[in-house]
Symmetry: C2
Subunit: 434 residues, 2 copies
């Protein structure tokens, strides 16, 4: 039974070296609001986090503390018997809901809490999260989903039908996945604050490690964007994949112009070309730059936004976020919708803990839903994994299957103590303008 | 010059009597995060608020305190010389922006702060806000708007052209408005927690006061919705307007079925039939229930959402919110887009302070932008006005023009002291589950 909720404000000073910098976010301090569901009665504690880039992480901590009261006194047996319970308790508090609804700080906080419940359930079952879900029946998986506001695109019956259709192949796919891992791409070479020389060096190093799909940041001035794409092809040639990420800075006409300017460099996808709320804008850009495909999702705040991106055929790649969406439940709903639309799920990762989270989600997609890895890749960024008890493992540009029980976001106690804001030793050393 | 920011958590226990209750929000405690920009050097203090319905109001207070640091040390002269400055300082903090972007708690907090800056500017000019804006040149008004992500629908040149076109008629419209006031409708008779007898009594009383346009809450079970609409027509006959509000609870097919069931009662608009994020869903509902018109906006979180509702021709009425959108600047942008689309602006009000706020916005729309009151009404709800120093004045179902300098949301000090959460006397009296 959940006895209490502990939420902590953990921040890493990544802005000091421009790690994670892009056109919209020049100085992120990768951070997380980290929650522990403390148990009494012998069940394992559950950990969850939501990712932010610094200031305002305290708001997520406060929201977790407020919302989290709904979970106290509930048992893991209750949550396992009703996989939608945690989501309902947290998303249907009408007073908190007003502050979104289903978006912003409150939704981010709900994600951390919901993921912490799944972490505890998987740990109790002594399985990594992906396997805990993969071993469920189609009926159990569907029971986790709230179909309100999406049933016009995906009904409960359709979801159940698809999961049932894919169930016979699960054992073979688990075997394949365990042997081969899951394909990935890396963002670590192309942050916007990096110099050309730094990028060339990083690209060559990543290629030597086995990476064949890369993403670089664009959205600065157009000449620089073109130069960076040219630099990429000069460095690694034409036989590797290049995606670019504009982080929302363009208007529609700017996006079209910029994408046409970099098109000669064979762009696999263009990510966040404009406002993440602009379904119709993405549709218009996609129409004008076809056959180049758009990708978005790291700021798509809920299943209703993804539903529309899919309905409008506005995106070619569906970039779910593990804690922008309200945790495992809402992600599964979105992955089922993407499958119906025939759009590959390629999760947003990087930050802190996102790689650890999303590997499980892509694996659930492969084993239970889409049944394929075709055109699917998990994002990878190299930072901050050392702070996790069970960090991701990458080999030849692929994620290896996580084997530790749970959802893989347990931070080491010392890492938390050092990076707790504002009094941990990393922050106490400097004068911080929070 | 802004010397410091004071933010307070003010909550009114409206849930005790079901005031404000609807299908999604059964027990709101109308609340506000209330900010005062304290000045040094003789300028008047500026007050702003953002509206919530209880739990989580503390998150808005904390966000105001964090974001508000960007305003400290700035002078009113700077804000008046660059009307977009406050918005840029508050919306472009990339670390806070991550928590939205441009939505949720952070955007609500930005709204309170931006509105407080406008309040201080109008007070210094000794004008009510609507008149302060109405006396500006088209160039000044346009300078308040950030066209990023909306320029595909409304360019700066188009906005300037429209304002310039309407400028010669301003004096006559100000005279008319001052004499006649602005039309309104009332929501106070139809909260979902009220009994039939209570509704009948309230409708008759409101009719006697001069009201001719009413809104009632629907979205309970369908039989009840139909009964309440029938009750309305039995009580007041067919020569008054009836709008209904479902507060987001329906799926697309449920919305269509329900609207068709109540259609015989001559429904003026159907408000929030489904998720406020679902532009395409609204479009589909509108197609199926035409000629009945949809209205939405109180949860449309930014100009990009409104842009899409207007582009898709999904709504017949544009319900701006004064502090869900990021204050006066973003509201003006949306009102200009609605004008371009030929869609009437009918602001969301009620709550606490929203009537006081939005009267100014509709008056700006009339004087500077649309130039008409046709099909336009301001929402009215009867609660909590006594707590304001300059409350709205209603006569014969119309808002009278506010004359006190500023944006009309100054709360009386005693009201704040009594309702401050959790230690004000209204809250200290009871055991509160926050």
């Amino acid at each position: 039974m959940i006895d209490s909720i502990e939420a902590r404000d953990i921040r890493f000073p990544t802005s000091r070296d421009s790690h994670g910098s892009d056109a919209m976010n020049p100085d992120p301090d990768y951070s997380c609001a980290y929650v522990t569901l403390k148990m009494r009665g012998g069940d394992p504690a559950g950990n969850g986090l939501t990712f932010t880039i610094g200031r305002g992480n305290d708001l997520c901590v406060a929201a977790i503390e407020g919302l989290g009261k709904h979970l106290i006194g509930r048992s893991l047996d209750e949550f396992e018997a009703d996989l939608g319970l945690a989501s309902r308790l947290l998303l249907n508090d009408s007073q908190y809901r007003w502050l979104g609804p289903e978006k912003g700080v409150v939704h981010l906080a709900a994600a951390a809490l919901i993921n912490a419940v799944w972490d505890a359930l998987a740990k109790r079952a002594k399985k990594p999260l992906w396997r805990y879900v993969a071993d469920m029946s189609p009926e159990q998986i569907v029971s986790a989903i709230d179909f309100r506001h999406i049933s016009d695109f995906l009904s409960k019956e359709e979801a159940l039908h698809r999961l049932t259709q894919q169930a016979p192949g699960k054992a073979a796919r688990i075997e394949f996945l365990t042997r081969e891992g899951y394909p990935a791409y890396t963002t670590s070479a192309g942050w916007i604050g990096y110099s050309d020389a730094q990028i060339v060096q990083l690209l060559k190093g990543a290629y030597a490690e086995g990476w064949r799909h890369f993403k670089i940041k664009v959205g600065g001035d157009l000449a620089t964007d073109v130069r960076r794409c040219a630099l990429f092809r000069e460095t690694l040639g034409k036989d590797v994949k290049l995606s670019v990420d504009a982080n929302q800075v363009w208007n529609i006409d700017q996006a079209v112009a910029a994408i046409k300017a970099i098109a000669p460099y064979n762009i696999y996808w263009v990510e966040e070309p404009t406002s993440p709320d602009d379904v119709l804008g993405h549709k218009e850009i996609a129409r004008q730059v076809a056959p180049i495909q758009l990708a978005t999702g790291e700021h798509a705040h809920n299943k209703v936004m993804f539903k529309q991106f899919l309905q409008a055929q506005a995106i070619g790649f569906c970039q779910i976020d593990s804690c922008r969406l309200a945790g495992v439940n809402e992600v599964i709903a979105v992955m089922l919708m993407a499958d119906k639309a025939g759009i590959p799920v390629c999760p947003h990762a990087g930050g802190v803990g996102l790689c650890e989270y999303v590997q499980h989600l892509s694996m659930i997609d492969f084993v239970c839903i889409s049944g394929t890895m075709e055109n699917r890749v998990i994002e990878h960024a190299a930072h901050l994994h050392q702070h996790f008890r069970n960090p991701i493992e990458i080999r030849n540009g692929r994620y290896l299957v996580p084997s530790a029980p749970g959802y893989s976001v347990d931070l080491w106690p010392q890492s938390m103590a050092d990076h707790e804001f504002p009094h941990g030793k990393v922050w106490a050393e400097e004068t911080v303008a929070s």
